[in-house]
């Protein structure tokens, strides 16, 4: 009897355990199905619960600190290559004879560019996330001075007389001119929108500065991006050249003779309903040419082909003989070689009308593209050896430099920068994010619309059931991992779902990511995207007086007339810290006639100052317009009682909002 009882208990236990296993399996299946929006995803818990760890021991174990070579410079004698390690916060010194890294100098946060003085003894490195430039003694490999700049210093250029350093301030959209004798900024010039690159003409008379973002444009009009011309003698802005229907002008170079300056650019198709990819209906990529004759004629030509696209052109260099240009396409892992004489011939024989036509022509590139040279993952900065024989290519997501012969146009060697040899899941995801291989015919990468994992400032005509409806303002991906749901209509509950099958059906229009790739992409988006510090509006966490007043308005419960503001209509109800979103769907009266009836996802507001235009369809050019133009009935927070000064204060406070990490443990925000 006792034995039977024991057996009964054992059997009963087994049944219960079996039932538990079955139930857990079933619940897990339901959970995974919900999160991925598919029913055949392998029940792999580590996909979401390990790879996406941001902090702690697990995160340290599964991640690596990569170098990510970005921009470079060569010593005047060609013996040394200086490489910016963007994620390594370092300047690496490479011996070009032995192909070895011989030195590593710690620099500031997120270095962007390096410039070497003509004597070869001094380097300047811009620290984009620290708002300064380091002066480095190259014989000692030591930082010897720090020069203050505007916000987001990017490329550096010496004035022709070498007395001044021009620093492109990418976040504050300015150019700082620094006197190298006194090491002080003597002038700051306004330059475009998100400028990044600068180059002086060979005769030293002018500097060209290219921008990435479009200037603020009226709703539903094409982007226009500025190339700022600075007169070297007067150190004043001489001209603002406009590139219609172009943006992301990452870099610019002059020919040695100075007959042309050529910038890389993208020609987006954001105003056309996104109904197909074929025939360049979403994105095209190319170059902008500024002729020095012909009254400074501006021309745009594509580097794409009818069935092959070369997205995210980044850097451009021109050989000392002025015959060839090299362009890095960071979304296609390719260097395009351009025959500049063929370009000269084309320009000479074509009227402006023809050239305008060619700006959308996918076949014209066969006239001037000499070769496509494959590279490793995510080629960024380019630099030529002083004799022009070698081209160095920073393969950012390989931690490697490729060396290409400019004569036979082949890769002759690669230089390992000694980054981690292990490719983590998040690193694989970052490669996928930056590569257009998962879009039909390589037309665009995730990066193309989300440069720096942010947003590109454009509103896209995302055709749903009908065309011309449901315009979508591109959203930043910074902090996106913690702020579901996704899409403005909140249809996607997870990034898995957002980037899954439907993503490939309506956006990339080619084969969907497989589950390993999705794991990697999600891991990168959740753990690998960082928010830059808000040095411009809130460098220390101490609010200005205006921001403090704005904060009070943000958290107010009564109008200026003493009326109680309903809780649902107070700013902090829908936009609570640390992400300043309650992650819910709501209607704030901003739907237009061209929107389908829907609730909208409440966006997060961290670093909101750098994401114009605003609203789901980008109708509001500024934060102020949210309330002055699009909140007549006070549905988007009670604001119509405010005076102009109060609204200014509120806007100032919003601009002060920083990365979520600053608010998570701040009792003031809880």
């Amino acid at each position: 009897m006792k034995k039977n009882k024991k057996l009964f208990f054992i059997l009963g236990g087994l049944v219960i355990i079996s039932l538990l296993i079955i139930s857990v399996h079933k619940v897990s299946r339901l959970h995974v199905n919900y999160m991925t929006a598919v029913d055949d995803h392998p029940l792999n818990c580590i996909s979401c619960h390990v790879y996406t760890q941001k902090d702690g021991i697990v995160a340290k174990l599964i991640n690596e600190d990569y170098l990510s070579p970005f921009n470079m410079a060569v010593s005047p004698d060609g013996s040394k290559l200086y490489v910016i390690a963007q994620d390594g916060d370092a300047l690496l010194v490479v011996d070009t004879q032995t192909n070895k890294v011989t030195g590593k100098i710690a620099v500031g946060e997120r270095p962007h560019s390096v410039a070497i003085k003509s004597d070869g003894n001094t380097a300047f490195v811009s620290n984009q996330w620290a708002d300064n430039v380091y002066e480095i003694d190259l014989s000692l490999l030591k930082v010897v001075d720090t020069l203050k700049t505007g916000s987001g210093p990017a490329e550096l250029a010496f004035s022709p007389d070498k007395k001044f350093l021009y620093v492109v301030d990418s976040y504050s959209s300015e150019v700082s001119i620094i006197d190298l004798q006194t090491k002080t900024e003597i002038k700051r010039l306004v330059a475009g929108n998100n400028p990044v690159a600068a180059v002086f003409s060979p005769d030293g008379s002018q500097a060209y500065v290219t921008s990435r973002r479009t200037l603020p444009m009226p709703f539903e009009t094409p982007p226009i991006t500025e190339l700022t011309v600075i007169d070297a003698a007067t150190q004043m802005v001489k001209e603002r050249k406009m590139f219609d229907n172009a943006y992301l002008m990452e870099n610019v170079a002059f020919t040695p003779s100075g007959d042309m300056a050529i910038a890389t650019l993208i020609r987006p198709k954001n105003l056309i309903p996104s109904i197909q990819v074929e025939k360049g209906w979403m994105m095209t990529h190319g170059i902008g040419i500024i002729e020095q004759g012909n009254e400074g004629r501006v021309i745009q030509l594509l580097t794409d082909e009818p069935n092959a696209y070369y997205p995210d052109p980044f850097d451009i260099v021109i050989t000392p003989d002025g015959q060839k240009a090299f362009i890095s396409h960071s979304g296609a892992d390719v260097i395009t070689v351009i025959d500049l004489n063929a370009i000269r011939t084309l320009l000479a024989e074509s009227t402006q009308k023809k050239l305008d036509y060619y700006s959308n022509h996918l076949g014209i590139s066969s006239r001037y593209v000499l070769k496509r040279i494959p590279t490793g993952a995510n080629p960024k900065g380019l630099v030529l050896s002083p004799d022009g024989k070698n081209l160095y290519v920073a393969e950012r997501l390989e931690d490697r430099i490729a060396v290409i012969s400019t004569e036979n146009l082949e890769t002759i060697k690669t230089i390992n920068l000694n980054g981690p040899s292990r490719i983590t899941v998040a690193r694989k995801g970052r490669r996928l994010f930056n590569n257009a291989g998962h879009t039909f015919q390589y037309q665009y990468a995730c990066y193309t619309c989300h440069p720096d994992s942010h947003e590109d400032g454009l509103v896209y005509n995302m055709a749903g059931a009908d065309m011309g409806r449901n315009l979508a303002n591109t959203r930043s991906l910074r902090d996106i991992g913690d702020t579901p749901p996704y899409k403005w209509n909140g249809k996607n509950s997870s990034i898995y779902k957002q980037d899954g099958m439907r993503f490939s059906t309506v956006l990339t229009r080619t084969e969907a990511f497989d589950y390993d790739e999705l794991d990697a992409l999600v891991a990168y988006i959740v753990t690998g995207i960082k928010n830059p510090p808000n040095l411009r509006y809130n460098p220390s966490g101490h609010l200005t007086e205006a921001q403090k007043r704005g904060k009070k308005i943000y958290y107010r419960t009564h109008t200026n007339y003493g009326e109680e503001i309903p809780v649902y209509n107070q700013c902090a109800t829908c936009h609570p810290p640390p992400y300043f979103t309650n992650k819910q769907m709501t209607d704030v009266g901003t739907l237009s006639e061209t929107d389908d009836p829907m609730l909208l996802d409440v966006p997060h507001l961290n670093n909101i100052y750098e994401s114009p235009p605003y609203l789901h369809d980008g109708r509001a050019a500024t934060l102020e317009e949210l309330w002055t133009k699009f909140n007549n009935d006070d549905k988007h927070g009670v604001a119509n009682d405010m005076k102009k000064d109060e609204l200014n204060d509120l806007v100032e406070y919003l601009k002060s909002l920083r990365d979520a990490k600053y608010y998570k443990n701040d009792p003031e925000y809880h």
Binding site: I275, P306, N307, K354, Y357, G363, Q441, D466, M467
Partner: protein, 484 residues
């Protein structure tokens, strides 16, 4: 029983067993690395390449090992009266082909397991089916002869699962549509020729496997004849045979670049007399080609060097037979599996034209007002389906009945025809398709502007009882002809 008799009987049984084992082992012989081709009795071959579909009576699919000349050939389709058009699966374990089991059967698509050489029938139409090709995702595409409707011997492309289920027609035009290959980007490359209202030229069109986004891929000069066997190599070149300007005596090997197919043609064999019928690039380099040195001899299998554009020695020739359609039994990279954005529950699709007046390359003067189109007429098979005024920016936006062939012609403000009619197109259910202009340069990307037409709901086609449609120049012309 006599012991000798017993021994004899046992010996007999063992011999039978060994023979059957041997046969079975021969049957299970691996074809890895072998070349499979179609061997056509000379009298049944279309020597001028004019027939789009390959349906040669008495043809057989044969395998040889080109690297081992002494090894006997294997006839893979001994149980069929005729068999053509072999296509190897991505893992090289299966073979699609089209065949007649008996002389008067219709042609149907079959799949063979290359390990045990057994075949199963996949299509079961009354009409014949030709030219099968594997699609990613366990599907295939083939050409089906359509029931006669007065528009000629129309053939349409179909897709289905490899088990014969989920059949879907993907082309809908009065054409002879025929599969040639599946491009690496996942699109089907279709050989097509208009049949109605008058015969057109042969051309290759690229089309998504769901029948959307059809676009011109390549067309030869004049009335060039194109072959239905096309290959894309890993380095992006596409090879096929073209009888330039319709010259029936000289089929040449043509290469084009997938990146820019319309303008990168190279004739690789213009310096070689005789005629080519098939081309097969090998992954290891070089090519196998079907070639006939002179009008008299048979078509044999030869090697061909692309580098120096020269023929090698014959690999396989057999008197009385023509050898075509070589394929390699070798695994290769699967093309992209393109997603399907159509919705079979919808009955319409949308078409946007950005500017009706964008036509080819502009001269500097541009179009005069008189030469500008202000309306577009949509033509069906046998009637006008409506005239639609275009917006000031030249755009128009239509909602058309899905899977219905339509053509366009542009009209000036007085209703005179400016351009057209165009070629046939169709829109799949829920497809949204765009074009830059009418008869525009096929390499032109759209300009980045919001078309005025999408600010309004689409115009439904057919347009019902509109005055404009009654003024159709086509209808007026028809009426006039009828009166005369």
């Amino acid at each position: 029983m006599n012991p000798m008799k017993i021994i004899f009987r046992i010996g007999y049984i063992v011999a039978i067993g060994l023979a059957s084992l041997c046969l079975n082992s021969c049957r299970n012989q691996s074809l890895e690395g072998m070349v499979v081709f179609t061997r056509v009795p000379a009298g049944n071959f279309d020597i001028h390449g004019k027939a789009i579909a390959h349906k040669y009576k008495g043809a057989q699919i044969v395998a040889i090992n080109p690297d081992k000349p002494g090894v006997p050939e294997i006839i893979l389709t001994p149980d069929f009266y005729s068999a053509c058009s072999p296509d190897i699966s991505y893992d090289a374990k299966h073979l699609l082909f089209t065949a007649q089991q008996k002389e008067n059967d219709s042609w149907q698509v079959w799949e063979m397991n290359l390990e045990n050489k057994t075949s199963k029938k996949i299509t079961h139409f009354e009409e014949s089916c030709y030219g099968p090709a594997y699609l990613p995702g366990g599907r295939l595409v083939f050409s089906r002869q359509m029931p006669e409707t007065g528009t000629g011997p129309v053939h349409a492309l179909y897709t289905m699962d490899l088990d014969g289920s989920n059949v879907s027609q993907i082309t809908f035009q009065p054409h002879f549509d025929y599969t040639t290959t599946v491009l690496h980007d996942g699109r089907i490359l279709m050989l097509t020729k208009q049949l109605f209202p008058q015969p057109g030229d042969m051309m290759y069109m690229a089309i998504r496997p769901n029948g959307t986004k059809t676009e011109l891929f390549y067309k030869g000069p004049g009335s060039s004849i194109l072959n239905n066997q096309v290959y894309e190599t890993g380095d992006g070149f596409v090879y096929f045979i073209e009888w330039e300007n319709g010259n029936p005596n000289s089929g040449d090997i043509i290469s084009i670049n997938q990146n820019r197919p319309l303008f990168t043609k190279v004739n690789l064999t213009s310096g070689i007399t005789g005629s080519f019928y098939s081309v097969l690039p090998r992954q290891s380099g070089g090519m196998l080609v079907s070639y006939r040195p002179s009008d008299a001899g048979p078509v044999g299998l030869y090697s061909f060097s692309v580098e120096d554009k020269s023929l090698g020695a014959p690999i396989y020739k057999q008197p009385g037979y023509y050898v075509i359609e070589p394929v390699l039994v070798e695994a290769f990279t699967r093309p992209k599996n393109l997603p399907d954005d159509t919705n079979p529950e919808k009955s319409t699709g949308l078409l946007l034209c950005q500017d009706i007046n964008v036509i080819a390359q502009p001269d500097d003067a541009g179009l005069s007002d008189n030469a500008k189109a202000t309306k577009v007429e949509v033509l069906g098979i046998d009637k006008s389906m409506g005239i639609v005024p275009v917006e000031d920016d030249g755009s128009f936006y239509l909602k058309v009945i899905a899977d219905t062939p339509i053509r366009f012609q542009t009209l000036d403000k007085d209703g005179n025809i400016l351009y057209g009619p165009s070629g046939w197109i169709w829109i799949r259910p829920f497809e949204r398709r765009g074009c830059v202009g009418c008869h525009q340069d096929p390499e032109l990307a759209p300009n980045n502007v919001v078309p005025l037409s999408v600010k309004k709901p689409p115009v439904s086609i057919p347009v019902e009882d509109s005055y404009e449609t009654e003024q159709s120049p086509t209808i007026k012309s028809l009426n006039k002809n009828e009166k005369e």
